[in-house]
Amino acid sequence: MLSEQVQAKTDRELKKYPADQKQSAVMAALRFVQDEKGWISSDDMADVAAYLGMPKMAVYEVATFYHMYNLKPMGKNTLTVCTNLSCTLCGAHDVLEHLEHKLGVGLNEVTADGKFGIREGECMGACVAAPLLTVNNKRICSHLTSEKIDQLLAELDKQ
C-alpha cells in the first residue's frame, strides 16, 4: 500500500489528467515514493500500478527507463555526478574520483553509515555550471572543486 502522503500527492497529480488516463501520473507517483523512501522497490512499483490501475510491467518500464529513479537504496543523500560531455571536459571524472576517495565507496555504492551514495548522471541541462552534481535530484551543486565537494559533504554530514 502506498502511504497516505504519497496517495494524497498522487491524487493531486491525477487531477491534471483525464479520468481514464490515470497512468499519466506514473512518473509523479514514483517520484513521491522515492522522496519518501529514498528508493523504489518492486513492491512499491506494484503498489503504484495497483493505485493507477495499470500493468505492473508498465510501471517497471518507466522506473527502469528513467535514470533518476533509484532502484536500490542509495543512502540518505544520493550524489549524482553528471558525466556527459560538458561535465567530463570540465573534470567530472576528477569529481567522481574525489568523491569515491573521500567517501571510501565506488560508483553505485552507499557508505556504511548510509549517509551517502554515488551515482552517475546524465546531462542536467546546466552545462554552464559544469562540472556538477545533484543531491537527491533536487539540488544542483555547480562548478565543483575538491574544496567545494568537501564543504558540501561536511554540510550534508551534519544534517
Binding site: 512499483m45 506494484a46 500493468p55 510491467m57 517497471y60 518500464e61 527502469t64 535514470h67
Partner: protein, 780 residues
Amino acid sequence: MINIEIDGQAVAVENGRTVMDAAHEIGKYIPHFCYHKKLSIAASCRMCLVQVEKAPKPLPACATPVVEGMKVHTHSEYAVKAQQGVMEFLLINHPLDCPICDQGGECMLQDVAMGYGGVGTRFTEAKHQVLGKPLGALISAEEMSRCIHCTRCVRFGQEVAGVMELGMANRGEFSAIMTFVQSSVDSELSGNMIDLCPVGALTSKPFRYTARSWELSRRKSVSPHDSLGSNLTVQVKNGRVARVTPLENEAVNECWISDRDRFSYEGLNSAERLTKPMLKQDGKWIEVEWQAALEYVANALRQIGNGAGAEHIGALATGTSTAEELYLLQKLVRGLGSENVDFRLRQADFSADGKRAGAPWLGMEVAEIGKADRLLLVGSFLRKDHPLLAHRVRDAVKKGGQLNVVHSADDDLLVDVANKAIVAPSDLRAVLTQILAALAESKQAMLSNDVQAAVAGVVPSAEARSIAGSLASGSNVAVLLGNFAAQHPEAAQLQRLAQEIAALTSAKFGFLGESANSVGGYLVNAVPGVGGLNAAAMLDQPRKAYLLLNVEAELDTANSQQAVAAMKAADLVVAMSAYKHGAVDYADVLLPIAPFTETSGTFVSTEGRVQSFKGAVKPLGEARPAWKVLRVLGNLLDVAGFDYDSSEAVRADALPENVAPALNNKLDGVAVSATANVAAGLQRVPDVPIYATDSIVRRAPSLQQTRDAATPTVAMNAAELAKLGAGCGDSVKVSQGQGSATLVAKADDTLPAGVVRVAAGHPATAALGAMFGTISVERA
C-alpha cells in the same frame, strides 16, 4: 479512396491506411519486423524504410499514411540503401549463431539478412549480452541477446491477450524484454508470442531442439479442445506430432491459437497411451488381438441385450469425439435397441430435451461477437473456457461495447466490465428474471407465457436494472450462455430467460459451447430419443453395460462419484480410449482408439461451421480410429447400415449438406419457476480448469506445469472462511456424499457468500459428487 503509386504500379486504398497496407494490396513485399497486421504500429525496427518522392528522408512504410498522388519506391537504390543500413544496425548486437538457434530456417531476420545484409560487419566492438529470462513452462527466453526489440510480444500482450506481462525494461543499449520481477508469463494465449517473435529470442520450450522446420511436414487440422474449432497446422516429424501452430482463418481463430491448442500435442505422445486392446480376466489385464477384444464386446453386449434387455445398455461419449464417431455410436446403440446415448456428460438439467427447436449453438457467427456493442455473458469462465472468444469479447469492448456479466465467480476477464451481478448458483435464475423484469418494465413489452409468472411482482435490483439499461441501449446486442450456465441444474430455465431477454433487446443469443462437437453431437443425434436415458439418468439409474467413448468417468461427468459407482457396479464397461486411465479400475475391455491427429473426422463448431480434417500421423501402436472400431462392432452385432469404407461416407450419412437450418436456440414450453430457490448449506461453484478439460490436455506435461494447472483450491470469501475457523493456506476437507477431498483453502472476496469454489475435472476433486450442489467444508 486515395490513389498512390508503388514502384510505378497504381493502387487505390482507403484514407488512413498506410503505405504498407497499400503494398500488401498489390502483393508487394516490403521487409519488416515490428509490423504485424493484427498489432498496433510501433515503427521501431525501421526495416520497412522506403523512398517517397518529395520526402526529404526515407519513411517507414508501416507508419506512413497514404497521401493522394504519393509515389513510393520500395526497391530503388535509395530505399535499398536505407534498408541495408537498418539491417547492418540490427545485426550489430545480434549473435550470429543461426546454426544453433532454434528459429534457424524459419527466422525472419535470417531471411531478411539474406536479402539486405552485408557479407561482413564493420562493427568490431564487443557485442551486447542479454541474460535469459525464466518465463514459465511454455516459452523459452534463454537467448535474449537475439532480441531485436520489435516489441511484438509486448504489444500482443497489451492488445490481444489483454494483459501486459512482458515489457521493455531499461533504456538504450540496455533495454531488454522481460517480465515484472522474474514472474512467469501466465496468459492462456501466451504461445502466440513464439509465432510473433521474428527472431529466436522467444521459442517454444517443449519443441526446442527437437526438429528443424524443413524436417517437418505440415498437415491441416482442427482443435478438439474447445467449441471454437481453431484451425491448426499439425507439424510432423518421423510419424510423430512435433508441434502445433495456428492455421490462419480470419473467421475462426484469426492467426492465433490458445496455449491449450498449441501445447496439448505433448499428450499425444504420452507414455499413458493405450496401444493394444486389453481384456480384464480374473481381475488381471491381458493384451489381446483386436479380433478377440471386439468379439468379446459383441458377445457380452448380445448377452446383456438378450438377457436383461437392450435398455440396460448405455453409451456415453465426450463432446471431443468426432461427429462420425458420435454418429456411429448412437447408430450402434439404437441398432441394439437402446435409446440410451448421450455426449453431454457435464450437463445436469435435461428438461429442455424434446422442447428444442434445433441444436443449441452460438446463435451468431464468431466474428459477430467482436462487433457487438452490448454483451450479456451468463455463467462463463470465459477466459479459461474459451480463450479466443474472450479475445473477441475484449475486441468488442475495445471498440466501445459494454460487457455485462452474470456469474457466480468474478474472475478477471482482462476487460472492463460495465455491470456485473455475481451471485450464488441458486440465484442465477433470479438475477436473469430481474433483468427481464426491468426490461419488460422499460419497454412495456408483453412477455411470453413461459416467463410471465416468474416475472410478475419481481422488483429488480440495482445491478439488474443497470444491466437491463445497458442492454436496452444497444443496437447490436449479444447474449451468451457459458459452460457454467449450460451445466447449471436450471440450464433450461436460464436458456428460456436468455431467449426472452434477447427477444426484448433484439439480441442474438446462444451457447458458447463446451466442447469441439457440442453442436455436432446434437446434429448426429447422439442424444437419447423417446424413452431413452440421458447422461445423468444413465448414471443415476445404473445400467448393466456401458460403452464409453473417450470418457474418463471420474473426470468428464457432472457427478464423478456417482459415475464411478455406476461403472463399478456394471457387468460390462467397454472403454474406447486413447489412454490407459481410471477405467483400468472399472472397465472390462479397453479398446485403443486414435486421438484427433490420428483419425479423420469432423467437428461442428459452436457457430455451426462444419470442419473436417484428416489424420496427420498413423495411429500409435495398434490404436485404430474409433469410427472403424464402431463399424466393426456394428458388423459383428449384425446391425444394419454399418458398411462404411471411409469416414467421409459416415459423414455423408451423419450430417446434412447444410447444417444451418438445424441450428436453433429457441426453447418453448419450459416454464420459468416463480418460486425462489432456497439454498441449504454451502453451494459448490465448479469450474473445469483450462488444462483439465479433456484427456489429451490432462496428459500434456508442459501445460500441466503452468499456473493454470495448479492443484485446485477451496476458495471462499474471507468471511465464510473465518466462520470455519480457517484461513488462507490452511488445509480443509470438502465433502459431498460419501467422498471428500483435502485441499488448500483460499480466501477470495470476489466470491459471493454461501459458495465454495471447487474445480471439477481434476483428479484431486474426482472423489466429490455433483458439480452443482451442496458441499460441506471443515478444517482438516
